[in-house]
């Protein structure tokens, strides 16, 4: 009897999982999600993730220069200011990643046919990134802007990778792609 209940529970769980993964994606609100995703992608790629910008925000050479001035007040001011900017960077990266994740969790599959493995990999990357952002926020808040350079580098690199996948998902929105008769042209028309 117990075995039967276990089997039935397992079967029900499997059916529910299958239903969840195979459920049709809603198109409602799709245009808003697309606009938000496009904006998030543009902000990440154009403003937050370029290597030179990340390098400038977390540049130790600036700290060395301030230290060479020999004033504790200046050093304190600099560290406070850089900490504020570093926290702003992390929170903005996180905010844009959440927006992109919502797009992928919601309407991305409706517009862009990503294979399940890519979707799973993306899901994993988003979770890892959001966790890394939270960790960075704590580290920077407690120990200053130079507390975790490796996490900064890894976060920026993974976020750039996720952006590339998202860019492919949103490629059908670009005029060049439509002109080339991209495989999602019909879906663009639907949008």
């Amino acid at each position: 009897m117990i075995q039967l209940i276990l089997f039935l529970s397992l079967g029900a769980a499997l059916l529910l999982s299958l239903g969840f993964f195979m459920r049709p994606r809603r198109a409602e609100g799709g245009s808003t999600a697309l606009v938000h995703a496009r904006q998030a992608l543009s902000t990440l790629q154009g403003g937050l993730l370029p290597a030179d910008m990340v390098a400038r925000v977390f540049d130790r050479a600036d700290l060395d220069y301030v230290e060479s001035q020999g004033s504790p007040e200046l050093q304190r001011l600099f560290l406070d200011e850089r900490k504020r900017v570093a926290l702003l960077w992390v929170s903005r990266v996180r905010e844009q990643l959440v927006s992109l994740r919502e797009f992928h969790a919601g309407s991305a599959r409706f517009y862009a046919q990503l294979n399940p493995l890519t979707e799973l990999s993306l899901l994993f990357d988003f979770s890892r990134l959001l966790l890394a952002c939270r960790m960075l926020q704590v580290f920077v808040f407690l120990r200053g802007p130079y507390a975790a350079p490796r996490i900064v580098g890894a976060t920026a690199a993974t976020a750039a990778k996720v952006c590339n996948v998202s860019q492919e998902s949103l490629a059908f929105l670009t005029p060049a792609y439509a002109a080339a008769g991209g495989k999602h042209a019909a879906q663009t028309a639907r949008f």
């Binding site: 400038r56 600036d62 001011l77």
Partner: protein, 145 residues
């Protein structure tokens, strides 16, 4: 194409007089109407068109902003010091005005990334504090050799 030519023209004729990104940023911001955000340059507009001139100036403004953001704190301090000297204002008055009015906040291009703008404002704040500390050095804060 016209915009690229106009921008190149602007760099060769006008911006050549402003070798530092900070000077270029301030010059280009001063050519922009605060109410409309439109850039005006009579010479450039007469050679091309007001629209093309405006777009070329906006591009050069963004370029100067990007260059300034990519400069180190030390470079910004140097540029600020040179700019201060070029204004022939007393350093004390200049620093007091810049700390109080924060004119750099209105000198950035309209479509600047907010983080880059915040980063630049923050760097200006520190650069001004460094220049101020040089005016009134405390005995404990003598710069290291």
């Amino acid at each position: 194409m016209d915009v690229l030519q106009a921008a190149d023209d602007l760099r060769r004729r006008s911006l050549v007089n402003y070798p530092r990104p900070l000077d270029r940023l301030i010059y280009l911001a001063s050519m922009r109407d605060y109410n409309t955000g439109i850039y005006h340059h009579d010479g450039l507009a007469s050679r091309y068109s007001p629209e093309v001139a405006c777009e070329a100036m906006a591009d050069c403004h963004k370029e100067a902003f990007r260059q300034l953001v990519s400069n180190s704190l030390e470079e910004l301090v140097g540029q600020l010091e040179a700019y201060m000297a070029s204004t022939h204002t007393s350093p004390t008055d200049f620093i007091a005005a810049w700390k109080g009015l924060e004119p750099y906040r209105v000198a950035v291009p309209v479509e600047s990334d907010p983080l880059a703008a915040q980063f630049l404002f923050s760097t200006f704040k520190v650069a001004l504090a460094i220049l101020e500390s040089r005016l009134h050095p405390s005995p404990a804060a003598a710069p290291a050799a």
